[in-house]
């Protein structure tokens, strides 16, 4: 491209001369975080909610497309070290006369350059800029093929490229078009920065800022084909949120457990199952005393006295649970936290006491809402009611399934408590109801265990548990609160501050809150399973001065049963798709977040039928 003198002159006059030298780094006039990354603008154009989730709430998740995208960048991401001079700040007159002798108009390729513009309020990382004198052409690499659209590319890509162009212009370059390079097609598509595109781009920047400043998350798209391809679909829960947005949960108040939810969906279609039913990675539990966990390349190796007990792929591990004295190498700890794999620490006796995890989640909005809800009696009672009512209903369902006398008075009583729980007006009465319902429930629940003298089933007790069933229950509750602590932390909550349980030192109150509705479903039923299937017996326990503890073998059987339960797939009662319990915990935590952030009117407790 040969550049005419007038073009140069017009460029110098139209661009802001003050910023023309601020290349390669952000300026210090506007703080870094106020500049909108051009990549985010792409996301906002794709879906406003996606842009908001990523930029404002700091959510980030990878999927194949984002990964392939960055792999396509592998050549360009290596910033070359050669010097690229900013456009010369020369007097237009002098320039018009003679091109500078020391700067011949050869083409220069500059890769991976960070540029910002205060005027546009944008910051961009440019894959590649082709420079010819003062004319700059941004080149953006895209995975995949050239799409079959008249504009040559989809809007998000064109807007992103145009925003790069605007940043280049503000830095003193002349920039009238850009290039999208489609890796799979090996084709360059030229995108002219015409008036229309520039206006649209600036409008989107303004809209994005306004949305972020207002602090209101844009609603999910409705039944959009974009969602299945969106990397944040599991966080956004588009169809689920849309479904729950409209109708209040009237069915929760219903005494007939067989009745289906009566909520009318916003769209007539049921939610699509957009997140996988199960996770590929699973927990790793280690209770072998003195064991050592090291990292070797992409694996974790577990050794005891130099002898290898196991070697697992890091890919297969979702969390690590350590009981008593198990050691981890510093490399392993650092790699695990880098990958977002938490390490949960339990005492030898099974008391969950701490967690080692990576950096705290960026979603500060959520924590602000959580704290304010916790301080607002009305708001927290609203959620607590759902949690406790859900728990009572799930207790009833468990009993109904297992007791012989289907007309037993306990079922009627629990139904009554359930309804009263939904009507209470104070936390104290909710606490009272919960206590009464638990008493009724446990009286019958303990009848469901085999009547073996060595097991001495005699009602619920704890600290220390004085009978095997109690030891198992306490342990399972501990595993469950670990699970929910991990989930809540991953979603961005502070697990320590609850809405029902009062914060006490070292207790993850919110995890305990959320555990309420899942105790019967996950812990109590796993306890029934291990005793009634003979997976534990009298030999699995040790009596120690009135207290009962589990043997290592007994504990492993209980963990195995618990894990089986977590991986059980069931049909979601509201959404209608198949999903495993561990995922349900995550979905519930996200729905709680959606509720606290004001997107859905009520927290829908999880009740099975």
């Amino acid at each position: 491209m040969i550049q005419g003198p007038d073009a140069r002159a017009s460029m110098s006059s139209s661009s802001s001369p003050t910023t023309s030298v601020s290349t390669l780094q952000t300026s210090d006039k506007i703080p870094d975080d106020a500049l909108l990354p051009v990549r985010m603008l792409n996301e906002f154009t794709y879906c406003p909610r996606l842009g908001y989730l990523e930029w404002v709430q700091g959510e980030w998740a990878e999927n194949l497309e984002t990964r392939q995208g960055s792999f396509g960048h592998r050549v360009v991401d290596k910033a070359d070290r050669k010097q690229v001079k900013p456009p010369a700040k020369v007097e237009p007159k002098q320039q018009a006369n003679s091109p500078q002798p020391d700067e011949p108009d050869e083409q220069i390729h500059a890769r991976s350059i960070m540029l910002s513009s205060d005027k546009e309020g944008l910051i961009a990382k440019l894959d590649l800029v082709e420079l010819e004198g003062d004319v700059a052409t941004p080149v953006d690499y895209k995975r995949g093929k050239v799409p079959d659209v008249p504009e040559g590319a989809y809007e998000p890509e064109r807007v992103q490229l145009c925003a790069q162009g605007l940043v280049l212009r503000d830095n003193g370059y002349q920039c009238d078009e850009g290039v999208l390079y489609f890796i799979a097609s090996k084709r360059r598509v030229v995108i002219p920065f015409d008036e229309e595109l520039v206006t649209r781009t600036r409008q989107l920047v303004t809209d994005f800022r306004a949305t972020a400043d207002a602090g209101i998350i844009p609603p999910p798209l409705e039944d959009s084909p974009k969602c299945p391809r969106c990397s944040l679909v599991g966080i956004c829960l588009p169809d689920e949120t849309n479904l729950l947005q409209l109708e209040p949960l009237t069915d929760q108040d219903n005494s007939d457990p067989t009745r289906l939810p009566t909520r009318l969906p916003k769209s007539t279609d049921p939610p699509r199952r957009l997140l996988p039913a199960k996770n590929n990675a699973l927990p790793l539990y280690i209770s072998e005393q003195g064991a050592f966990i090291g990292k070797s390349a992409e694996r974790l190796t577990i050794k005891l006295k130099k002898e290898q007990l196991a070697s697992v792929r890091m890919l297969d591990v979702s969390q690590i649970c350590l009981f008593g004295s198990v050691m981890l190498s510093a490399q392993a700890i650092s790699e695990l936290s880098r990958r977002g794999i938490p390490i949960c620490h339990f005492s030898y006796g099974g008391w969950f006491h701490s967690i080692t995890a990576g950096l705290i989640h960026k979603n500060i909005e959520l924590r602000i809402q959580q704290y304010s809800a916790a301080q607002d009696d009305e708001r927290s009672l609203k959620v607590a009611k759902q949690l406790i009512a859900g728990k009572i209903k799930n207790c009833r369902t468990l009993l109904r399934r297992h007791i012989h006398d289907k007309k037993s008075p306990v079922l009627t009583k629990l139904t009554d408590y359930h309804q009263r729980a939904l009507r209470v007006t104070s936390k104290e009465s909710l606490l009272g109801l919960e206590g009464m319902a638990a008493k009724e429930y446990f009286a019958d629940f303990f009848q469901l265990f085999p009547n073996h003298p060595a097991l001495a089933v005699n009602g619920r007790n704890r600290r220390p548990p004085r009978a095997p069933v109690n030891a198992v229950l306490s342990f399972l509750y501990s595993l469950l609160s670990k699970e929910l602590t991990v989930v809540l932390q991953a979603v961005g909550f502070d697990p320590m501050l609850g809405v029902f349980h009062t914060p006490r030192y070292g207790r993850p109150s919110l995890a305990l809150d959320l555990a309420e509705e899942f105790r019967p479903l996950l812990a109590d039923s796993a306890a029934l399973m291990v005793f009634n299937n003979g997976e534990v017996n009298a030999d699995s326990f040790i009596q120690r001065a009135g207290a009962v503890a589990m043997t290592p073998a007994g504990r492993k059987s209980v963990i195995a049963a618990y894990e089986r339960r977590m991986e059980t797939e069931i049909t979601h009662p509201i959404f209608g798709y198949k999903i495993c319990y561990r995922r349900i915990l995550e979905v519930q935590a996200r729905l709680l977040a959606r509720h606290l952030l004001g997107e859905i009117p009520e927290y829908p407790s999880f009740v099975t039928r």
């Binding site: 990878e62 792999f71 592998r74 390349a297 992409e298 792929r313 963990i559 195995a560 089986r564 991986e567």
Partner: protein, 97 residues
Amino acid sequence: MRSVYLVAYDISCPKRYRKIYPIMRGYGEALQYSVFRSELTDTELHSLKELLWPLLNHDEDRVMIVDLGPIEGRGDNCVEFWGDPIVTPHERSATII
């Protein structure tokens, strides 16, 4: 969901081999010298490629990746194995030690 892949490679230089082998181990089980069986999702397969790519000498080394299909499908039935086979359970469960 994950699929089963057979990954085989020839690395002509021992120095590169020593770098590549531990990565392969992180993504699968060695069936034979330089032949691995890997259960991977699309994204995990992609990560493996990402890791291997810069370590290879693209003129001298060779990598072959065969997609054997979904786990619990054709994935394993299509491999006849003589000798002491690597047993990989179809139902994955948490590791408890």
